[in-house]
Symmetry: C2
DNA sequence: CCGGCCATGTAATGTGTTACATGATTTA
DNA sequence: TAAATCATGTAACACATTACATGGCCGG
């Protein structure tokens, strides 16, 4: 029902411009490589592929498996991609659940705030490791897109690093602000 | 129509717990103070306030103006806030339009990529200045919430700083990768 | 031969913004 | 007195996820 929006088209045309693949693989590729700043679900991808095919922006050829298709970008599709990339950026307003909870953390309690910081640390360490792996892989492959891929990865890495430094600092600050709260027994 | 979700309730109850205010002021407060990580529209706020009032979580008293109400959190509301703050975080998957465009920046062209970096720099400088102002203000007011407010502001500042450093680096990298493209006259 | 992955697709549902409608109050 | 701001609220729309449904293929 929901006609996918132009932004989904950018992700789909862009990913297919790097390498032709099936809708299923497309989802995986977007998750793996663009996962730290983008996401697409099957509910968006399949309708988008069909629509883009009807518009002549992608071409489908039978895949190895009977039920699968391999999609590739047509010349028109490349033109459309350039056009879409120039279109104004309209991001949804931010909604960061972690920050919201920490902001009102006084009502949550010190222990739970520290637990949130622990989770954040773990998530960012994992993310950082994944980004470094991807970085190494991209550097090895020597694609024409490499400089562009690498700067986006670099921002991800810097953001993770800044967040990890912040976690350490935030922990100390919260412990300092309410020294006895976490160890005080309930009377 | 759309029943506001629990996350809106956190923002509304949390903001009102700091200081009672009208729905209109609530929007402004969320924009000013939580704006770098959260957002609520009137279409969410007003239905939420009415629902929370029916549930006895907030109380409304007439404001200075005839058509306005000042909402404050009740004891039940405070309990509910603590509960909501402990609920699992379910963020929407990320969708960063800038990163998406830079990732496929080869199809956009060097000049437009550099323009995107310029916009990013300007936006982050402005954001950083605003965060520093807010930081100073919070430190001056000496609220019990201050430590929690300050750590969220600090993450914002660190993220801006990291992004600004990244912009410089990204510019150099892109210029180095396609040295002649930006100055080459069209034949 | 069965569990898990590959593969496609649709319908229902949730979530949230934008646009619209209305009117009081303040300020220039 | 006109424009801007304060103030509340609803309806329509846009966007995306989740759940569901279906079936082929492969390895153990």
């Amino acid at each position: 029902m929901a006609a996918p929006t132009p932004t989904t088209d950018i992700a789909v045309l862009g990913a297919l411009s790097v390498e032709p693949m099936s809708g299923y693989e497309l989802r995986g590729a977007i998750q793996d490589v663009l996962g730290h700043f983008w996401s697409e679900s099957f509910g968006q991808i399949y309708p988008a592929l069909n629509r883009l095919r009807e518009q002549g922006l992608v071409a489908a050829r039978p895949g190895e498996r009977a039920s699968s298709s391999v999609y590739s970008v047509t010349a028109q599709g490349r033109a459309r991609l350039s056009e879409l990339l120039s279109s104004p950026i309209r991001d949804r307003p931010p909604r960061n659940g972690l920050m919201l909870r920490l902001f009102f953390g006084r009502h949550l309690g010190l222990d739970q705030c520290l637990a949130l910081l622990d989770e954040t640390e773990a998530a960012n360490r994992a993310q950082l490791a994944h980004l470094r792996d991807t970085q190494t892989e991209v550097e090895r492959e020597n694609l024409p897109d490499a400089p562009y891929f690498l700067i986006t990865i670099d921002l991800g890495i810097r953001t993770c690093e800044a967040t990890l430094e912040w976690v350490d600092d935030a922990r100390e600050r919260l412990r300092g602000a309410e020294p006895a709260a976490s160890t005080r027994p309930r009377r």
